[in-house]
């Protein structure tokens, strides 16, 4: 479903309400609904594994920055990146199929939830190593600078990655070479069971970034419009070769991964945290602007349908064939790795020479 055509059927009140506000809300909603279906996929036994990191509560950082990006811009994400990818235009069918480990998934069922990408949408990959994808945007920025591509590359990562040394090596190099790069820390307050202040002695992240020569900004992740506005400003700087850092504060509504019930968090804290709901915030704004409840319901219905369809697709589409596991290790024109079984056969029948039995 292209979000560009989504409102074509919307009511006459439309002209009163900014397109932007509605679009942003729709994206928030799609992410939340998608993540919900990821949960269902798991409950139905259809997900490949349990390492499913939902971005509920973090939709505004994803959508705000993604919507501020240009089509040519590229990005990497962390393990909690479904929302960012969706906001950049991913097809929820192929996403869910990938999360289910199916052949029709974005990565042929090889990557799963934590490794998902669409090169065509500028996604250079989700990464399951905390901080692992950060250096890649520095390299991408170098490509843009040398190949004179007017694009920015954006690294999305969690507050946990603020403690990985490679972030600071990356900041220094981006600043030294004046690369079109933006570092976005989605601060959801926790890395697994560790609250940010239990992991970092100082929370002056903007000062840190500045001390490495970057432009830095701290933004609340509650209001998607605010995030987008700030992101546009800072992306404009990055595009001119002033690499930048953005810290966006939000709250991780649920556990770290699908099975974590967050026993390490205080109930009160969780309730307060969940009150900072970017969906509700944007919905309230729209209602205030005059969108009717029934219109909003119709959007919810449409999004639910879209995501149900994706879920069904993921459940029904076929598994990869076993032999596909030997593909994509090396470039397509090269031979695949020889299987262990074939090696054994050749060992026992040494007249089978290499090449006979791949």
């Amino acid at each position: 479903m292209g979000t560009d055509t989504f409102f074509s059927t919307s009511s006459a009140s439309a002209h009163m309400i900014s397109e932007n506000s509605r679009l942003l809300y729709l994206q928030l909603l799609r992410i939340r609904t998608f993540e919900d279906r990821v949960g269902e996929l798991f409950l139905q036994g259809g997900s490949a594994g349990t390492m499913l990191h939902l971005s509920i509560g973090e939709e505004a950082p994803a959508v705000g920055v993604a919507e501020a990006m240009e089509p040519k811009d590229s990005f990497t994400t962390h393990h909690r990146g479904h929302g960012i990818f969706l906001a950049r235009g991913a097809d929820p069918k192929r996403m869910l199929a990938e999360i289910a480990g199916k052949e029709a998934g974005y990565c042929r069922g090889k990557g799963g939830s934590m490794h998902i990408a669409d090169r065509k949408l500028g996604h250079l990959g989700a990464n399951a190593i905390v901080g692992g994808g950060i250096p890649h945007v520095v390299g991408a920025g170098l490509s843009y600078q040398l190949l004179k591509v007017p694009a920015v590359s954006v690294a999305f990562f969690g507050d946990g990655a603020m403690q990985q040394g490679n972030l600071y090596e990356s900041m220094n190099l981006a600043a030294l070479w004046k690369l079109p790069v933006l570092f976005v820390c989605i601060n959801n307050q926790y890395g697994m069971g560790t609250r940010l202040d239990q992991a970092s002695a100082s929370l002056e992240f903007v000062k840190r970034a500045e001390s490495f020569g970057l432009v830095g900004k701290e933004v609340s992740g509650l209001d998607v419009e605010e995030v987008k506005k700030e992101a546009m400003e800072i992306l404009a700087l990055a595009r001119e070769g002033k690499p930048a850092f953005m810290k966006i504060d939000c709250y991780r509504f649920h556990g770290h991964a699908r099975k974590d019930k967050s026993p390490y968090r205080d109930q009160n804290e969780e309730e307060e945290g969940r009150k900072k709901d970017p969906l509700k915030y944007q919905a309230d704004r729209l209602l205030e602007q005059g969108v009717s409840v029934s219109e909003m319901d119709s959007w919810h219905k449409k999004v639910a349908d879209e995501m149900d369809e994706a879920l069904n697709f993921a459940l029904e589409t076929q598994e990869p064939v076993l032999n596909s596991m030997f593909e994509d290790v090396y470039a397509p024109n090269l031979t695949h790795p020889e299987s262990v079984g074939s090696r054994i056969d050749r060992a026992l029948y040494s007249d089978i020479l290499l090449g006979d039995s791949r």
Binding site: K102, K110, M114, H115, Q164, E319, L348
Partner: protein, 325 residues
């Protein structure tokens, strides 16, 4: 006999070691409040307090590096890497520092630390959370390397490892934590000795960690077909007990090495080479190797399962080795 899970046995070993050695300190991501990503350290924070069971930031290099420094100055740190895949971030502190410090400084400085981690497939955790990287460690002089296959060994090996004056890499298997095993520490061979987990005269399987279990299951099935397999569990890869291996190999003359790490330049290569070198004239057939395929681990459950040796594929290989297929 008592039963115990692998996880509980590890915890018991850590707990008892900490009770008797007040210099042991546990460091790692989520080892305290969370109790460890796989629950091994659960409850230890409560018993020993925040000073001695310390949650660290997500900073693998300093995690291992701080352990090295602490080990040089009077503590015996146990650093937990949540997944062995993250050892990539700490290789310098492990290989260029921990492993070489005694040597570079002419024997003056000991580094009595442990690096605990877990590896292997089985949870659809994909390419960056499912590797078996023990070959890198085995290739590094100066390190000890233990890889227990069951609860008893988890317990006895961790306890002994926590008395050594050198760095020990202690690699667990994520697929074993929740399993129950007979628990009988008195029966265990000493540190550095392999164990005959099942005896047989027809052929030998040399293995460690989770592949012991799979080999034993294959051996049980093969027994019904009249093939008597001997299963040797190495327990530690450094020291490597070639005496026990040699005895088995010379008895059977047929050997299958089974490991989960990638085949090429993996532990299976070293085992195959050494067994052949030391027993060439006793071998009826070439030493065969089963190991992980030479691919990153795919997330799709069926593909993941097929990427490492299984009960069935081990059985089939033994049948081939016995020329019964």
């Amino acid at each position: 006999m008592k039963e115990m899970t692998y996880r509980d046995a590890l915890r018991l070993g850590l707990q008892e070691s900490m009770q008797s050695d007040p210099t042991i300190v546990i460091l790692g991501e989520e080892v305290g409040r969370y109790g460890g990503a796989y629950g091994v350290t659960k409850g230890l924070l409560h018993e020993f307090g925040e000073d001695w069971v310390r949650d660290t930031p997500i900073s693998e290099e300093i995690l291992v590096g701080a352990a090295v420094g602490a080990a040089m100055t009077g503590l015996r740190p146990v650093a937990e890497l949540m997944y062995v895949d993250f050892i990539t971030l700490a290789m310098d502190q492990l290989v260029n520092q921990a492993a070489k410090i005694r040597y570079m400084f002419g024997g003056q400085i000991s580094v009595p630390m442990m690096l605990r981690s877990q590896g292997g497939t089985g949870r659809s955790a994909a390419a960056q959370h499912s590797q078996s990287l023990e070959a890198w460690v085995m290739h590094t002089p100066g390190l000890h390397l233990a890889m227990p296959a069951d609860a008893t060994d988890a317990y006895v090996l961790i306890k002994h490892a926590l008395t050594l004056a050198d760095p020990v890499i202690f690699l667990e298997h994520k697929g074993l934590y929740a399993q129950s095993f007979p628990f009988n520490p008195e029966s265990a061979p000493p540190w550095g000795r392999a164990k005959i987990s099942r005896s047989g005269n027809d052929c030998s399987i040399i293995c460690y960690s989770r592949m012991v279990q799979r080999s034993l299951e294959a051996a049980a099935q093969l027994a019904e077909l009249g093939v008597r397999v001997e299963v040797v569990d190495l327990r530690t890869l450094h020291p490597l007990d070639m005496e026990t291996v040699t005895k088995s190999v010379r008895k059977t003359g047929r050997v299958l090495v089974v490991t989960e790490d990638c085949l090429t330049a993996g532990v299976s290569a070293e085992l195959s080479a050494r067994i052949t070198e030391e027993n060439f004239e006793y071998l009826e057939e070439p030493v065969l190797r089963m190991a992980g395929e030479d691919i990153p681990i795919p997330v799709a459950p069926a593909l993941e399962a097929a990427s490492v040796p299984t009960n069935e594929s081990i059985k089939q290989s033994i049948l081939k080795l016995m020329r019964k297929k």
